[in-house]
């Protein structure tokens, strides 16, 4: 059984600048997701759109420990990872709205968002499929003898699919610099993690492959950050892959039409009471590191940035249908 760690960031030790950075990025993600969902519900954004509201601390805590040249591979619920890895929000909205200025020139949409220049190798519509790809990036790092690392996010549901295991096994057998980050939000669509897994804990699947594994509170950005830091330093030291299991929650349905008959309002409220953003904000004010006004200002700023990005994306031209065959092959 993997070690269960508690969030270690004590209030007194909080660095105001770091904390504000965390808060700001989590708020950006939150607003990005809330607005995406609105645009989706209104029909301005079409296709699919899985939002990660509630899970922001995982994306931010992990990515805050990454370098620009580290790789991240993601899931169908990857807007947060994209933002946390440094993607441009305007280009992200442009992608969601099918514009030429979008990261994927409208060809990918929400499920294939990527910013390869920033090391964000992309979301993926096939659950689990990003995991072996991230392991491949890890192999490439090893062969090129750099000290980058490769990080892959995936859900609890993904831990039941074959690709996950093949990838973990290969990473471990080859001692590759890969961090596996499970976002255990308790559900794979409608099914409960525990009902569908033979393991007591997702991390046990990592420990079976002799990986350093940690189970942490994914609602606490500091807990995520600290565990990531520990695991990454081992990875960069050549100690092989590691597994981080983050307990978190998606506040909304799996996607737009999901009315969540499989869980209770109480459960939702309970998790919302531990919200990663309000918890951190409260800590900051309690420790007198920031005033409520200052925090509101950060939030207002994030909200403004999101609105500006949406506007920018809306103003940008649609994709050109005549170029639909462009990018099938490289020349």
């Amino acid at each position: 059984m993997a070690t269960v760690m508690k969030g270690r960031g004590e209030i007194a030790r909080l660095d105001r600048e770091v904390a504000e950075g965390f808060l700001r990025t989590m708020m950006l993600i939150r607003h990005f997701e809330e607005r995406s969902l609105e645009l989706f519900t209104k029909g301005e954004l079409i296709g699919m759109c899985h939002v990660s509201v509630g899970q922001e601390a995982v994306a931010v805590g992990v990515c805050s420990e990454l370098r620009g040249d580290d790789y991240v591979a993601s899931t169908h619920r990857g807007h947060g990872h994209s933002i946390a890895k440094g993607a441009d929000i305007g280009k992200m909205f442009a992608e969601l709205l099918g514009r030429e200025a979008g990261y994927c020139k409208g060809r990918g949409g929400s499920m294939h968002m990527a910013d390869v220049g920033a090391g964000f190798l992309g979301c993926n519509g096939i659950v689990g499929a990003g995991i072996p790809i991230a392991v491949g990036a890890g192999l490439s790092i090893k062969l090129r003898k750099t000290d980058q690392i490769s990080v892959v996010f995936f859900g609890d549901g993904a831990t039941n699919i074959g690709a996950f295991h093949e990838a973990l096994n290969m990473a471990s057998a080859f001692n590759l610099p890969v961090l596996f980050v499970c976002e255990d939000n308790m559900y794979a669509l409608s099914t409960k993690t525990g009902d569908m897994s033979g393991a007591k804990c997702n991390a046990d699947k990592g420990t079976a492959y002799c990986m350093r594994s940690r189970v942490i509170d994914g609602m606490d950005v500091y807990a995520v950050r600290d565990a990531t830091r520990e695991l990454i330093s081992a990875i960069r030291a050549g100690e092989g892959p590691a597994f981080l299991d983050c307990k978190t929650y998606r506040y909304y349905g799996h996607s737009k039409s999901d009315t969540r008959p499989y869980r209770t309002k109480e459960e939702e409220a309970e998790w919302r009471s531990r919200d990663c953003i309000t918890t951190l904000a409260d800590k900051l004010t309690a420790a007198k590191l920031a005033t409520a006004e200052e925090i509101e200002a950060v939030e207002a700023d994030a909200a403004r940035q999101i609105e500006e990005s949406i506007e920018w994306a809306r103003q940008s031209p649609f994709t050109n249908p005549e170029e639909v065959s462009k990018y099938v092959f490289a020349e």
Binding site: G47, M48, R107, G109, H112, G125, L189, V324, V328
Partner: protein
């Protein structure tokens, strides 16, 4: 007669067959309480319980392998794969195991299993959630492939599929679930292996299936009204084994054929229909056979782009006019030049 949706037709078929035969079970991701990602199994969990409507882990290989193991040992499973695009995960279990086991074992077993899944584009779901893979599965002897276009066919074909002692891929179309149509009050079956002439006509034959069968009817109406062109529309319904005689008979009558499908054009069902007709009705053909299919481009997300890749009734109208030699008279439809 009652009017029900395509989705209801599917639910009813499962419901009736589960009531009829307790060996019939449904297994797949979120098919239980949630009622299925496409809401096709709503109510079945409440009615038949968790032992017969089984939520599985997110593990397509285990779903299909599991269903196959059930089928070999006395059950009659329906396995749901949420999107046909995900059969890439369990491709081996479908084409190397389920499709071949009876033959490889020299007839020792029957394989009464249905793989219910859905495909097709039109929803801006992008390249991994919009595909039409029927042409892949049709390549494999040992599999039957069934694709209904209407609620009537959806119900009757699914009931037949569940009673079949061979693996059947039953492929729904994601854009049709809310379509309504008449079905009989009493029980009925639609036989597997029989195409349906959805519209009789004298001038040109259109072979289509699933959503393109409906698009073909739409195009046929327009061609009739606008130009008095009388199109015969054949809905394959069963993709494999193909009811080629119905096609040949029609082509012998009309002398002209357009094959219309939603999958990519390269090595698709339209190619197969074309090749068979050339082989068997060459002397009856008055014009080249044309194919109207998706462009050979991964399906893009943005609406404007997706529309460019996926065929629509306009494309068919243009192609029909072309095989009738009216090329010069009509302006080229959007996307037409590259779609055929």
């Amino acid at each position: 007669m009652r009017e029900i949706t395509y989705r209801q037709a599917i639910t009813e078929a499962m419901d009736e067959e589960m009531a009829r035969d307790e060996r019939v079970i449904l297994m797949g991701e979120d098919v239980g309480l949630f009622g299925g990602a496409m809401a096709c199994s709503k109510g079945l969990y409440e009615k038949y319980g968790p032992e017969r409507v089984i939520d599985t882990p997110l593990a397509e290989t285990a779903i299909i392998g599991g269903a196959l193991g059930c089928a070999l040992t006395g059950m009659r499973p329906i396995a749901e794969i949420m999107f046909i695009d995900f059969t890439g995960i369990c491709f081996d279990q479908i084409v190397n195991q389920a499709a071949k086991v009876r033959y490889m074992l020299g007839g020792q077993v029957e394989v009464p299993m249905v793989i219910r899944t859905q495909g097709g584009a039109g929803r801006s779901y992008a390249a991994q959630h919009s595909q039409s893979w029927e042409s892949l599965f049709a390549h494999f002897p040992g599999l039957k492939i069934v694709m209904p276009a209407t609620p009537y066919d959806a119900k009757g074909l699914l009931k037949s599929a569940i009673r079949e002692n061979n693996p059947v891929m039953y492929i729904e179309h994601k854009a049709l679930y809310n379509n309504k149509g008449n079905v009989p009050d009493e029980e009925y079956l639609v036989p597997i292996g029989k195409a349906d002439i959805k519209r009789e006509g004298e001038d040109v034959t259109v072979v289509a299936h699933s959503r393109t069968a409906l698009m073909a009817l739409e195009a046929a109406e327009r061609l009739e009204v606008e130009s008095g062109i009388d199109v015969e529309v054949i809905d394959l319904r069963t993709i494999s084994p193909m009811d080629e005689e119905t096609i040949y008979e029609s082509v012998r009558k009309t002398g002209r054929l357009v094959c219309f499908e939603e999958g990519h054009r390269n090595v698709g069902i339209a190619s197969e229909v074309s090749a068979r007709v050339t082989e068997n009705c060459f002397d009856y053909l008055d014009a080249p056979i044309m194919r109207v299919a998706a462009k050979d481009v991964p399906i893009p997300c943005a609406t404007e782009l997706e529309r460019e890749v996926i065929p629509n009734p306009d494309w068919l109208v243009t192609a029909v006019r072309k095989v009738l030699g009216e090329r010069e008279k009509v302006p080229a439809a959007v996307g037409y030049t590259s779609c055929v």
